[in-house]
Amino acid sequence: MATEALKRQIAGKWQNAFARLNRDQEGITGLLAFSEAWALATEFLHPRDLNGSMANKELDMVKVRLAVETLSKSKMLPILLENFLEDMRKQQYLITRDVNQFMLQYEETEDVHHIARLVYRILEWYRAWVPITELGHTILSAYTLTFQTHVYSILPPSFSRGFKKLVNATFDLAQSPVPPPWLPPTPPALQSPVPPPRPDLPLWSAFEQLGLLDRYESLISSVCYEHIEAHILETCSKRWGERMLQPLREWMTNRIVPWMVMPYARGARSAEEARSMLQGVGSRFDFHVCKTLSDLRTREIFDIIIDFPDSQPALEDLKECLQRVDQRTQLVQTLRKANRKRLLHPGADTKDILTQYVSIIRCLRLVDPPGVLLFKVADPIRRYLRERPDTIRCIVASLVGDGESGDSLVDENEPIQPLQQMQVEDYTDPSWEPEPIDAGPDFRTNKPSDVISTLVSIYDSKDLFVRELQVLLAQRLLAITDGNFDRERRNIEILKIRFGEAALQVCEVMLRDMTESKRTDQHVQSQKHMMLHPTIISRHFWPPLQAGKFAMPGQFKLIQDDYAREFHSFKQDKKLRWLPHLGTIRLEIELQDRTIPVDVPPLEAAFIELFSEKDTWTVDELIARVGSVDRSAAIKSLTTWVDMGVLKEEISNQYVLLEVAEDGSSVSTGGAPPRPARVIEEVSAVLTVEQQQAEQMRVYWKFIEGMLTNLGTLPLDRIQTMLKFAPGYDRTIEQLGAFMEAARREGLVTVANGMWKLSRT
């Protein structure tokens, strides 16, 4: 029963189909015409083998079009398409074979030429199988989709690599006037009556027709990104002496933008349209230029700073880049890391750390005038410097133009101005931390802007600087023998502006002592000509001097007394007190066979004077004659004369005068007298601030010893807390730590796990 209904249904369908195929023609003529049309159309559409016969080409296109029209009227196009796609699937192996062959060649040679040939070959396949437009858009896009799906499914992973290379090669192609030999000839389908202005253009057409532009969009972008990066690394690395950003942007305009037209604005019908199409992608690439340059300069930042001011253009570039890309955090982190690794370590010279710090100040102010970056980078450097014992001395030496240590920290062009008081930042406060957001609202207020103020502000008070200044000035003044201290006077005038008159008052007294000494000496010499020219100083106004007490013997004593007498008769209510161990004496040692001119410290002079009394002395006899001198100093002095061939250590601890030079050690007496040998060692007469502090620290040793005796072991901070009960104790825990470390080296204490104890327990 169902069969009856089914039969009727089938019969009905058949009638419909027949009517459709026969198109109301007489008899079956319509049907016959349909078969003919179907046969022609399918033959025309049949995906042929490119390597096989070209017979299809000879089909009469007029007939083909008519046949398509017939099929269309019979509403048979969908079936034709289905049939065509089915045929395609059967023929796809032909493409697969070609693809595999080209890819095999590529993988063997890594020659991008094979990729170009492959692309052109696939395009040939595509063009060979493409249905005519009369079949309608639907068929065309179904064909394209099927074709591309197949091609993409058979391309091996190595294709991406090769394609990337090929795209990368287009940068050069775009610049070549003629196609390079490796580029395969343009296939007929892409040939135009006029040769393309750029050899890369046919490739782009092929890419587009095969859908490669869409499929590999991000790959093409990454090729461009990498190309930009490579160019920047190549042209800008370590080139800090000129601005690079502008040339890079010109390079983008001249080289990259024309290239970009092909992948990103091919469809544009006018320059205006192209411009708007390129705008978005262009801006992304410009961003990438800034990012890449900024990354490069960030990696190089430490050396750029070393190179400053020569590297100023690089910093200006960086500043501009940072306005476009937010890489400030990276810059801060990189520089902090580099500082930690390359600067803030025990092997670095304090002077070098300071020099680099000052350069960092100058450089980061240039990059970031508000000073946010500097604020973040400076903190660890400042903390580190604060712990170094010689930081202040180095700053001070630079302040007064320490000629020997090279570049001054102070920029000569920077106006001399009073120190700017800064708000004390309490970095030891546990709640203090660098602001997480880039700029705190008030971080810059009260920040000093000149370099010296910034350096001095490393410390809470400027008193330490003033003390160190006094020490340095004293050292220099006492070393002056020609009476010319104009340089120190100029320095003091400058320092007065910075530190204030009151702080430098003591230095004024020192300078006054220098002039007074000169005047006094002129008077004394007018009364009685003497070889002695003392610097007479006001005690209490000079930093503590090295202790040393001995009596100059023989003629030296007579000269001293003579001078003191003349002084007293000139300044009747004053008297002189010699500091015998300080100063320099120029002598001429007249021996039987030679005369030796020499500049020596007083102790050397004292000893050689004694040898004019008798030829042989033991060390103990010599020491007994001059008074309190420690043995090592005595032996050192004697060695000076031994080295000059004047004395000889006859037996241990006994020296004899060599009136006649020993063989080989004779000093020439003929001709011009030899220049005085300078044996003045660089031991300073003035106690450094450090030495003064160590001296004072010894007073507290008794307290520490008592504590450790009673309590056994103590951590440093407990010792510090308890020492605060000792009268006048004002040391920092760092200073205490340094002292304890010194005590440990002397074997007085030991330390384990931060706990200190006396050695003898």
């Binding site: 006492l478 070889m531 001097l545 030296f556 009747q572």
Partner: protein
């Protein structure tokens, strides 16, 4: 051997010759009884020590910065007496020659 001294750059301190035998004194030295500053320092109103801020000797043997004493004497509370012993202040004649011929 003969040792010839061609030039000697020495360092010395000056001291007030107070007549006291403090030749070997290494400490701070005596202080002015009025301002408690050492004699070789200067009084609170001076900046330069020495000739600019001299000492004054009393017959009573007390010694002060001259400026300190003059300021003290000018106050009515001083009654023109030495601030240390309250005896009438008489400035001593200094016998410099005796010291010079040491």
């Amino acid at each position: 051997m003969k040792v010839h001294v061609k030039n000697w750059h020495a360092i010395a301190q000056w001291r007030w010759d107070t007549g006291a035998s403090d030749v070997d004194d290494d400490g701070e030295g005596d202080v002015c009884g009025i301002c408690r500053v050492p004699y070789e320092g200067c009084c609170p109103s001076c900046k330069m020590p020495g000739d600019d801020c001299p000492l004054i000797w009393g017959e009573c043997s007390h010694v002060f910065h001259m400026h300190c004493l003059l300021q003290w004497i000018s106050t009515s509370a001083s009654k023109q007496q030495c601030p240390m012993d309250r005896r009438p202040w008489v400035t001593a004649e200094r016998k410099v020659d005796a010291n010079a011929a040491r």
